[in-house]
């Protein structure tokens, strides 16, 4: 049986990889950016427009969906794909990260995490069995294991405890996914390697999880407040110890330059709310950095956000029109800039794939990042 992940090629001058990931809902070309659909919707955009901009795979948030409308309800209604009208692949996180960032009164134990809902204070518990059950209810194509993400900074002992607990939970999640037939049915489960800023703990975590032979791996605990060089250092301290033949994912990242740099470190998958979140405030991405469409200087600007970029927003509308919508408080402004920003990310990743294939990724990504820092 062919592997679910094919490594199609590598960049000669960096660790960038070109791959192809097969899921129950189709094939994903990597490196890939995954638009985030937190509450069962990529905010402000219909799946019609998502398909149109070339989205291959999207993300759902287990924590949010489990609170509302609940994973049981979604299962009753045919799973998350049917529920939200998206028939492509869906990756879901475990919910653990949001338990730490959003919920109240959380208490962590060896069996999992007790916490209170940020919506209504209801007492809830997430352990390996719960997160795998919820993600099975959702019908996730790629489920993430429960892990403990240490804060930044964290002392070495506390980090080692979190790594040990994360390894036990990962082991348990894989066992559950095996026993339940989830893996055999072609769903994937990805492990998450923690270790904070401790290179040896990162290596240890990566190697221990690699030995468990997961279908994919995430570098966890990055973008939790640490400076960018530290973040890249942590990724670089992890990827060499992850199995080459499995996809690699950094969760919740990042700016365009960050993503390009992490591709150069051998990361294959990315998700981030940034392009859609800032879009609703009128911030639009361009090859010369983001521009704020509320700015008076765009009032009469007849140009598209990015000349020649083949998405609905750039093909159809001027900066002046988008500015008018945003300053008038019209919902359509957020929708059209979200379409553009998500496509900007998706197109950037498509360019990255082409340059890896061509073998000039290293030079190209440096030049791209340099231009991005120069306003038009």
């Amino acid at each position: 049986m062919a592997s679910h992940f094919q490594l199609l090629g590598k960049d000669p001058a960096s660790a960038a990889r070109r791959g192809r990931l097969t899921t129950r809902h189709g094939v994903v070309e990597t490196p890939i950016f995954m638009p985030v659909g937190t509450q069962g919707t990529v905010k402000a955009v219909t799946p019609v427009h998502l398909r149109d901009i070339g989205a291959q795979i999207i993300l759902g948030n287990t924590y949010h969906l489990n609170l509302r409308p609940t994973s049981e309800l979604i299962r009753e209604l045919g799973g998350l794909h049917a529920f939200m009208g998206w028939d492509g692949p869906i990756l879901t996180d475990s919910g653990g990260f949001q338990v730490f960032s959003l919920s109240k009164l959380r208490e962590i134990g060896d069996d999992g995490v007790s916490f209170q809902s940020h919506l209504d204070g209801a007492k809830l518990f997430l352990g390996p069995r719960e997160v795998m059950g919820i993600q099975a209810n959702l019908g996730s194509d790629i489920a993430m294991v429960l892990d403990e993400c240490p804060p930044w900074p964290v002392d070495r002992d506390a980090c080692a405890v979190a790594c040990a607990r994360s390894l036990r939970w990962a082991t348990r999640c894989k066992a559950i996914a095996t026993e339940s037939g989830f893996l055999a049915a072609g769903h994937h489960v990805f492990a998450i390697a923690q270790g904070s800023t401790y290179d040896d703990l990162r290596r240890e975590a990566a190697e221990a999880l690699a030995a468990l032979d997961f279908p994919g791996y995430a570098v966890g605990g990055v973008s939790v407040g640490e400076p960018e060089p530290e973040m890249l250092k942590q990724v670089a301290a992890t990827t060499p110890y992850l199995p080459e033949g499995k996809p690699r994912y950094t969760m919740g990242l990042g700016t365009p330059p960050q993503i390009l740099r992490m591709i150069a470190l051998g990361v294959d998958m990315f998700d981030c709310v940034l392009p859609s979140r800032v879009a609703r405030n009128g911030l639009a991405f361009t090859p010369h950095g983001p521009i704020n469409l509320r700015n008076e200087k765009y009032r009469k600007d007849p140009r598209p956000v990015v000349e020649g970029l083949d998405n609905y927003t750039c093909r159809t509308f001027s900066r002046a029109y988008l500015r008018h919508l945003i300053t008038s408080g019209e919902m359509l402004g957020g929708t059209l800039v979200t379409i553009h920003n998500l496509h900007f990310y998706l197109d950037l990743l498509a360019q990255a794939r082409a340059h890896i294939e061509r073998g000039d990724y290293a030079a190209w990504h440096q030049a791209w990042i340099a231009r991005y820092a120069q306003p038009e």
Copy 2:
């Protein structure tokens, strides 16, 4: 030269008419509903989805667009069609109605209306020359004359003064549109017949305007607070005196039963913010009346809003999903229910056209209205 309006057929048992209106941006089959794009956008919906639900013509609001971003800016950017990415026909109102309903400190004189912007208090003036100039800047396919819409109730003398002034302004607007070449270039200008609840004033206004040979006519001053029977009575008191060979339009109306009843009185064109405005609060139209998707009883409802209705929302999403979006405050909820509600109206008018063609409109519309009053 063929007329811009062809009367294709009439219902034997009512005054309903089937027509075809040709504009600079395409043909409109009547009776027709026109989605409202107040500020250069049909709220919450991309033109892609508008086309998909079969919108033939949309409405723009002169008052709003003239304040922001201004009609001069829209002209510089190629006109309203290019500005908002809609290449179908656009009808614009004169702005007069909003001057009366939204602006501050208005003062009406024989030359026009002085008023203050509701946005920033700027002092502005709208007379026949201004409203025709603004609508020419916008590139409107169908421009409306400036009129004075009397409030309800209004005494007979005040109403007669408003009618006389409206007639002078209409005459002036037509002269301006003729001299400027606006009419010769294939733009249409519609007159507006006022008269409030005074049948003889309505007849007088309609006949005087008919004598001026406008490309189309609106029944004005309806839906300004009067009870529904009064509204229908006013329409019935006007349409017999409008030229049969020209399209007829009631502005800002209405509920589905109201529209069907006005079609039976010989009205051809309708616009209303109702379906899109209520959509953003979760109210969805069905053949059994509107339903409130926030209601707990839809929490697990796997059915589409309307079974078998061929629009994106009904083809793809359950009531449970729409409820989830709306109760979670997700923008996509408003977008998807707007798509449905506008399509519901457009489809209702398509059904009306088919029944007029078949010659059974009178019976069909009575049955439709009766069912609409019976909850499912």
